[in-house]
Symmetry: C2
Subunit: 220 residues, 2 copies
């Protein structure tokens, strides 16, 4: 949306964050300020700011006077976050069913049509992006800033798990069918049905992860 005008510190933050979330920086790796700074062509100051933010988010641990170490998520953490999403996204979509306006619904519809198109063409990377967008719109439609903020975080945490999952053609198709079902319920302003659809959607995602990509997250 607004990829512009961020300060260097924010760019460094997002960069390191991505590299942790997609596994480039493995769990336990020490992040040295000077090294990262040199690599990205900036001084230690913005790097430090980024590291402090990452610690707050729980992605790294900073041991005073020692260093910053990647924590990452264990397989159990991933499952836990899915469960939390199950709870919060259910709440969110119930609210969305009651408060979503026509414009929001149309934008979601647009996303799902696009996703169907890309599915038919076999563009799996695009599907992941559209998945992000659809859920983002759903969070927005919930009408709560704090809830939206939390859900976006969780969604990003699961980014890696989701990518491996959606690269599976079958799962991608099913996922979009579930999206349609959610949207249908929202359009009908049927909160119960919407919540149930979301619960189903996330439960399927969990199940799919357990089967296929469960081993890729370096859980101890």
């Amino acid at each position: 949306m607004d990829g512009i005008s961020h300060s260097l510190g924010q760019l460094v933050f997002q960069k390191i964050r991505e590299e942790i979330l997609d596994g480039t920086y493995a769990k336990g790796k020490e992040l040295k300020e000077t090294a990262i700074g040199e690599e990205l062509g900036v001084s230690r100051t913005p790097v430090r700011e980024a590291l402090r933010q990452l610690e707050l988010e729980g992605l790294i641990t900073i041991i005073p006077n020692k260093g910053a170490f990647v924590v990452g998520f264990s397989g159990q953490d991933i499952r836990d976050i899915y469960e939390m999403r199950l709870a919060l996204e259910g709440l969110c979509v119930k609210r969305a069913a009651l408060s979503a306006d026509r414009v929001q619904i149309e934008r979601m519809e647009e996303i799902l049509y696009l996703a169907d198109f890309h599915y038919s063409k076999g563009h799996m990377e695009q599907m992941a992006g559209l998945d992000d967008k659809f859920h983002g719109l759903l969070y927005e439609a919930g009408g709560s800033k704090v809830l939206e903020h939390a859900l976006k975080d969780y969604h990003q945490y699961l980014c890696r798990a989701r990518k491996t999952s959606l690269s599976n053609r079958e799962r991608a198709q099913q996922s979009n069918r579930e999206h349609w079902r959610i949207l249908e319920a929202v359009r009908e302003q049927n909160a119960e049905k919407a919540e149930e659809a979301v619960r189903m959607h996330i439960k399927c995602a969990i199940q799919n992860m357990e089967i296929s990509g469960g081993r890729e997250h370096g859980q101890d």
Copy 2:
């Protein structure tokens, strides 16, 4: 627990955080790095780190090259966070009922006895602290790092609302009774009952806020 050995930046972070959460820094106030630094006797560097963390948490907004402004929570935000707690804490306590060990249960019991004592003496401030501790132990007993992390955040966000609420003697007593009921269910390893008890507890907290302290949060 471990109030020691934090860096200056972390202290500044916690200080500003508190002042936002208990309303010292009102919504819309601009936080200037030099001013805060002088006030706390530190340079801009740790202050900046703190501000970046606060932005990530959503407590302030940083407009690049302009400044940092307190966002704070509206009355609706407070209600939303209570709802989110309702969902997540229900999840957490279900897990706690299945996985809490004897030591954890005894520690919670200890807290509740202490709370009863302080109630009888009319020490209302102490009650608030014990409420924090009890829920903290409950989160720990849930056995999920990420869930614990999230719930602790939400609990802190509601700190101000809770304080005004627990200063009411009646509510304080009822709250502790509800705590006992939760603990009872956990001890019996009755997940359903525990979840129901938590839902009841939080619903009462919401209700109490709506009646008594709802106007104090400057919702627009």
